[in-house]
Subunit: 399 residues, 2 copies
């Protein structure tokens, strides 16, 4: 949409890297597991000095993750083909995550989460054990929500070249930094912690590979569009890693820009103020820059702005969180249009008219900055809140 | 093609039952495995009186089978969408079967097959052990070929309403009979044999369900076409069951009609005699029956029949394996056209002009008759050949 000559560009190109990733992960199985020798149901003493039972639960977890990813690709593809209705496609990830959750249930069924000490203190003893609270089946609802949230939040922060892929790369890098931190400190000699972060690294490094290569084609001026398939698939990779690694809470920290974008968009999504069909920034042929797009409140067919919202809108404008266009009408001025409520538009308010690739890069940098801060807080603040950083002592949650 | 008014009919409808099947199998996991209790890495003593380690290897085998099936669906769908070249799509199943083979390798790596006693006697001792010969890596080539063979052979015996689905139903029923035989005799008290045939039943009964329901729509006059997706998927179900159950040889017995169809078609497929673009039987508007379709050897653009082949063609005609149309030319008669070499055409030679659904039913009945005979021979002759029926003593091949 933001190109001078409107070229025809292939859609759903995210499918190819997604499938590539999948078959890469298939062929990766032997390299990941043969160090334990071939499973013959008995104790293995193999050349690499490994001793003990074959880590079958790890293998079936790995396989169930791949099943969830492949289901997500399949459903995402169907969505791209048949344009499933929004309120239906929203729940596609919850179907895709079934295999993973089932295997999680069979193997670990660990449904307790750590809660801050000061909260724990105030809760009756019969619902908490030590610092953790057992959510029971609610924990599966929670995991299901995580796997619905990640794909959709990647999907919602989109619209300019490179952003769909760019944001996933930033999140991947942040997750890898978190894993490497654990691996660096040897997870405080905790074998379980060590193995789950090794597990997540195994998923993330190949993903980083395919997403960077996809970015080359998707970056402005993009030669391919990635389609919902990619958004769903990449979001599911994060969900899979977070859930199987039991660090879904930490995962959420790296989705703050997407969460903010959702909350920020809410008034338009839920019809509190009018929402045009497209909220993409406006492209200006003359200078080739992107400008804010606005929602009109005047003229026929345009829902006028509720007067009660005026003070809020003016406050937001003062906070540079929205840009308004006003008109003197008699004694008081009225708002005739306001910038659309998306993170992309907000960024343009801060930077002013900007070229598409610069805009994308700016958003990615902001995203990384926020994520990095969260990562640092996670490992400095968390120990105070929870009484300990679980990179040092961790619940036995993996084989 | 064989309908009076040519209606537009949805293609690739095999996708829906395939995906249904997949998610059915996902949700089936707890019912299949929770009787062993939840896996906590230690010996489980659960209420159902089960004692021992959680059968993880069985779970990961199950998951790897589902992965192969889902990959097959994904690739089949891509094939239907983009019409992949024949010599490429032929090998799609070999990609899809990778996860299954890898997990098979990790868990069992049993690469020995039983061979008839009289053969074993004649082989040097260093390559055989008892009645079985260890194929090593060749066994994986063999399993790979099986998974290439099944989907493609289902794909090649097609062209009339209901046959794609009908033939899979017949094979499923035959496989179920084989399984039930083992289960009935309690597999001679062999727990492994019992469990693998239980495993295969778990895959086949749901498959029978979706394929029969699909047949209702695909039966003449069919309202849907199943597409390659179905042929590949259904073929892969059989491959998965046969390979993971280690009875690929028995599986082949039920594919004899498909094998015959392939051999019978070979002269045309490999261009020994001319091959028209379509070899489907000819539809006659007047009586609504299907007639043989022919390959022409006369007229421009038609490759004449090699004279060396005359005796063979005449012999085949005597054996009622081909129908020829001849013409007196001078002193000797020449063949001007011969029926196309497909099992469908051959059946029409035997039955005469026939309605599409009757034709499909005839082929299915023949297929079942052949399969049943093979099944009986399998359990009567095999013991003589191999020295024992492996329904009584079976190699330990499952956890």
């Amino acid at each position: 949409m933001s190109k001078i000559d409107h070229p025809v560009i292939p859609e759903t190109m995210g499918l190819i890297p997604a499938i590539t990733y999948l078959f890469l992960m298939f062929t990766f199985i032997p390299f990941m597991f043969l160090k334990y020798g071939v499973d013959n149901g008995t104790e293995t003493h193999n050349s690499n000095g490994f001793k003990g039972l074959f880590p079958n639960s790890k293998l079936s977890t790995y396989l169930s993750c791949l099943l969830s990813l492949e289901s997500m690709i399949l459903l995402g593809l169907l969505d791209d083909l048949f344009d499933i209705r929004w309120r239906h496609k929203f729940f596609l990830p919850s179907i895709a995550c079934i295999p993973m959750l089932i295997v999680y249930y069979i193997h670990f069924n660990k449904t307790s989460v750590l809660i801050p000490r000061f909260v724990a203190k105030r809760l009756p003893d019969y619902i908490i054990s030590g610092n953790s609270i057992d959510l029971g089946w609610l924990y599966y609802v929670y995991m299901g929500s995580v796997s619905i949230f990640c794909p959709n939040s990647v999907n919602i922060l989109a619209g300019i070249n490179g952003l769909e892929v760019g944001q996933t790369i930033v999140i991947t890098v942040l997750l890898l930094m978190n894993d490497l931190y654990y691996l660096a400190v040897g997870a405080g000699g905790n074998a379980d912690a060590y193995s789950i972060h090794m597990f997540s690294v195994c998923f993330l490094i190949p993903f980083l590979g395919i997403s960077t290569s996809l970015l080359q084609y998707n970056w402005f001026p993009s030669r391919v569009f990635v389609g919902d398939t990619w958004c769903y698939f990449s979001g599911m990779v994060f969900a899979v890693v977070g859930i199987s690694g039991h660090f879904a809470k930490t995962l959420m920290l790296f989705f703050i820009p997407q969460i903010f974008n959702f909350i920020y968009s809410a008034p338009q999504l839920f019809g509190i103020i009018a929402c045009p069909r497209h909220r993409l920034p406006k492209f200006n042929k003359e200078d080739g820059l992107l400008y804010n797009s606005y929602t009109e409140y005047e003229g026929e067919g345009n829902k006028p702005l509720n007067l009660k919202l005026y003070p809020i809108m003016n406050l937001l404008e003062k906070l540079k969180l929205i840009s308004l266009v006003k008109k003197q009408k008699g004694d008081k001025e009225i708002i005739i249009k306001s910038s659309n409520l998306t993170l992309i538009n907000l960024t343009i308010i801060w930077t002013g008219p900007i070229r598409e690739d610069k805009l994308c890069l700016t958003i990615m940098i902001m995203q990384f900055a926020v994520g990095l801060t969260m990562l640092i807080l996670r490992h400095s603040l968390a120990p105070m809140l929870f009484g300990f950083d679980n990179s040092w002592t961790m619940l036995n949650r993996f084989y």
